[in-house]
């Protein structure tokens, strides 16, 4: 169980093995990891407890990553300002534009190498503690 003072990362992806992959890399780097399987579950969880950073996949049931980010940005601050890293299997210009428009800070193409993930996470929310 991570140190409560640590930075909390919420991983939002419908593939449980992807979440596990990220979890292992991030926990090893000292981050506290929570999971959600789609944008709706993520919103519910964030309303209960905020996160320092979101890793958001695009293709998810019930609420895709972009819809989630738009919904997030409509909530009250500081929740609405939570930084977000978007992951997707594609990198078409329209996807990048959509990500930017939805308020994403970074866009990574899957499968994301663990080292790259940790590096981006540390960059976006500072060191784990």
């Amino acid at each position: 169980m991570a140190d409560p003072g640590g930075k909390r990362v919420l991983v939002i992806d419908d593939a449980s093995l992807v979440r596990l992959y990220y979890r292992e890399a991030l926990e090893q780097a000292g981050f506290h990891v929570e999971e959600a399987m789609n944008g709706l579950e993520a919103l519910e969880k964030l309303l209960g407890e905020p996160a320092d950073l979101l890793i958001v996949d695009v293709n998810m049931p019930q609420m895709d990553g972009f819809s989630f980010l738009k919904a997030l940005r409509r909530l009250d601050p500081p929740l609405s300002a939570t930084p977000a890293l978007v992951t997707s299997t594609e990198a078409r210009p329209e996807d990048l534009a959509a990500a930017r428009a939805a308020g994403a800070n970074f866009y990574l193409v899957k499968p994301v190498p663990p080292a790259s993930l940790v590096e981006h996470v540390a960059l976006m929310c500072g060191p784990p503690e």
Partner: protein
């Protein structure tokens, strides 16, 4: 006491029958009501399919999809499936959710969807296999895995297998691992999936 009531206050007013083109031309609420109201008249599924293709308002889209889902027919599945190819993530997601709500109908179309020439369609469709029973899911996904060349499609297939498959998937997973020795995530995923499937099998 302020709460005493005896007489009904609810109205039983039904919304007026929508004009034929309210489905595509009305205001949001009108389109929503019109989508809900489409019944069993001839051409209903075609009308809904056409409206679905052009509708951008999420809740109207959902109402159209619910109307199709309610029918639970092959025609309904065929009306929804093309939406999986959309460039719009929300549209794709809505279509997949609707298809998930028709598991028995979907079962017949899944082999076709997971063999689609478009890897994006294969990737999204393989997730639908989670709704099948263990034996059908395992067969379908193993078939796909054997010939699949796209890493992300394999990843999606392995994840679905890990959730829904059974121990007969183990040899197929091994083979996949040897086909992609340099793909770190696939190696990880296959190991994790194999250990889950082995754990369920051991009882």
């Amino acid at each position: 006491m302020p709460l005493i009531r005896k007489d009904p206050a609810g109205t039983s007013a039904k919304p007026a029958a929508p004009a034929a083109d309210l489905l595509t031309r009305g205001a949001v609420d009108e389109r929503w009501s019109a989508a809900r109201a489409v019944g069993d008249e001839p051409g209903a599924v075609e009308r809904l399919a056409l409206a679905l293709a052009s509708e951008t308002e999420p809740r109207v889209r959902e109402a159209i999809l619910t109307n199709l889902v309610r029918r639970d027919t092959d025609a309904a599945v065929m009306a929804i499936a093309p939406q999986i190819r959309s460039d719009d993530a929300a549209r794709r997601s809505a279509a997949l959710d609707a298809l998930r709500a028709m598991p028995l109908r979907l079962q017949k179309r899944l082999p076709e969807l997971v063999s689609d020439p478009d890897p994006d369609v294969r990737l999204l469709s393989v997730d639908l296999a989670r709704g099948l029973n263990a034996s059908d899911a395992t067969s379908l996904i193993l078939d796909l895995l054997e010939r699949e060349t796209e890493v992300n499609v394999c990843a999606a297939a392995i994840d679905a297998l890990a959730e829904t498959g059974d121990e007969r998937a183990l040899p197929g997973l091994s083979k996949c691992a040897s086909r992609f020795p340099d793909e770190a995530f696939l190696q990880f995923a296959i190991r994790a999936a194999a250990s889950r499937l082995a754990a369920s099998a051991s009882d």
